[in-house]
Amino acid sequence: MNTFERGKFLFSGATKNESFELLTKALDASISGIIITDNSQPDNPIVYCNGAFESMSGYSRNEIIGHNCRFLQADDRSQKEREILAKAVNEGLGCTVEIRNYKKNGDLFWNELYMSPVKDGDGKVTHFIGVQNDVTYRKKVEHDLRQQKANMEKMVEERTLALRDSEAFLTSIIETVREGLLVLDPNFTVLSANYHFLKTFKVTVEETVGKQLYALGNNQWDIPLLRNLLVKILPTNNPVVDFEVEHEFPHIGKKLMLLNAYRIELEGQFKDQILLAIEDITERKEIERRKDDFLSIASHELKTPLTTIKGYMQVIERSLPSEASEKFKSTIGKVSQYVERLNNLISELLDVSRIQTGNIELHEARFEFDKMVSDVVDGIQSSAHNHKIILKGKTNTSILADETHIIQVLNNLLSNAIKYGPDSEIIEVNISNVSEYVKVSVKDFGVGMSAQDTKRVFERFFRGSEIQQRFPGMGIGLYVCDQIIKNHKGTLWVESQKGKGSIFSFTLPKNGKGSDEQ
């Protein structure tokens, strides 16, 4: 038996039935749905469908046969693909469409339909064959892909917008900042300059951007210190912070500038560009100087009438009649004491101002340390009748320091010991040699302070929490002491216990503040 000839079915003789059966099985084995419609009957009914079509549509054969194909579109009738199909049927032509179909349970599936006509010997269309594939999944993937692409495009658009936004935002920050900002390329050509730079140095964008930094404004920016910063310091020490430059500009005069410089090391288009922030501190320095001048004058002027008052007080004290009452005598004593305090306050004010602006000058000279200490102790003892100051130890050394400053520190520590120990009698002063330093400790048995307060006691205007109500003062003395000792390259510290008393100690290098530099 031979069903095939040259690879085709043989529909003749004894094999005809066998071929037909095989062909039907082949159609049922196809994963594509296949239908045949009879074009000679009214409304082109389906006369055949294979198994795949049944499973694809969810209808069984008996629900399919006799219907026109359109039943698959259910109520979704307005698809343009239907027109293409109708036209092809009318004209007896083949066509391919992708059309929305609905399963028996109502689920949508995309049907890729190949339709081809079958013609008889006269060329008349007798049947149509429809081969259908469920391409829902492919459609979905295609749709997802399109969606994704659209999303991507939208996202790119949003990101671009956001970038442009943040760029504009950053630019407005840079333009608003009250500090000059330049961006330089690696060859020191100005890439951009912000508004404040232009305003401070009275230049325009055209005169600045694209020009060499040193060439700006007829070479007025050719400042040796600036060259030094950019060429020598920046490459080794990135970033450079608070670099002070003073320069006389031809038109705007002398400017004192603080520079911060930063070279971008991040890989990318900005690599090696240099950011140069310029703060004009000319006015600030000028104001500081004027404040110091003002305080100098103020303290001088305040001390002038005080000198007269103190002078008269001393005359009165010396001419007190012996029969004067104790009350009268102690009143006179109190007035003198407070005149002295007023005098100290005025001096302290000027000290603080000078320390803050770094204008405190040291006049170092050698002096006998032990004598200085005992003189100060004697001086304080003479006016402290309720306390006994005991001086212990000896250094037998002369030291190089500003004697008046050290006297000021010791006076302050001793006055504090008396002030904060009103009910204790003894104050101990210990002096000793410690390596290349001399050390002084002032120990009182007064109110003491909490561990918390010891940490802050050298801060300007700090007053101990409980001290505040009980003792007068501005909180300047210890701050000034600390600064003075620091200026001498020594240290000042405190150990204290609440209710037991405090020990204030300081060290001073015997050979002056420069001794550790050699």
């Binding site: 001088h300 002038t304 005080l306 002078g311 001393q314 005359v315 005098n343």
Partner: protein
């Protein structure tokens, strides 16, 4: 001890008065002067043995007067105590070869001691 002349020049009347009051104790003759411009002629007229000079005075300041004294052969060795409430007063006094410096506000005993030391 014979009475000597002490010339005091300070632009502040209060200080001038109190200095005069205190220094009377020394038994010397006090010549107070408020206007620093008059110091030169007073030196010529009164031949003081000691001058007490304020530093900051209008028109002619203490250091200028001191400089004039130290560069005039006739008065070159005249003892001069400089007084000032200014922080750098001592520095200026030393730089101009004052015989002594006393900070304002001054101490009674210290003032008397310094004066006695110089005349």
């Amino acid at each position: 001890m014979s009475s000597k002349n002490i010339l005091i020049c300070d632009d502040d009347e209060g200080i001038l008065d109190v200095l005069e009051l205190i220094l009377e104790e020394t038994g010397h003759t006090i010549i107070p002067e408020k206007n620093s411009l008059n110091v030169r002629s007073l030196i010529e007229k009164k031949m003081p043995d000691l001058i007490i000079l304020d530093l900051w005075m209008p028109v002619l300041s203490g250091d200028q007067i001191l400089q004039m004294i130290r560069t005039t052969p006739a008065y070159k060795h005249l003892p001069v105590i400089m007084i000032s409430a200014s922080r750098d007063g001592e520095q200026i006094a030393n730089d101009h070869f004052a015989s002594a410096f006393i900070a304002k506000p001054f101490d009674y005993d210290n003032l008397i001691a310094q004066v006695r030391k110089l005349i």
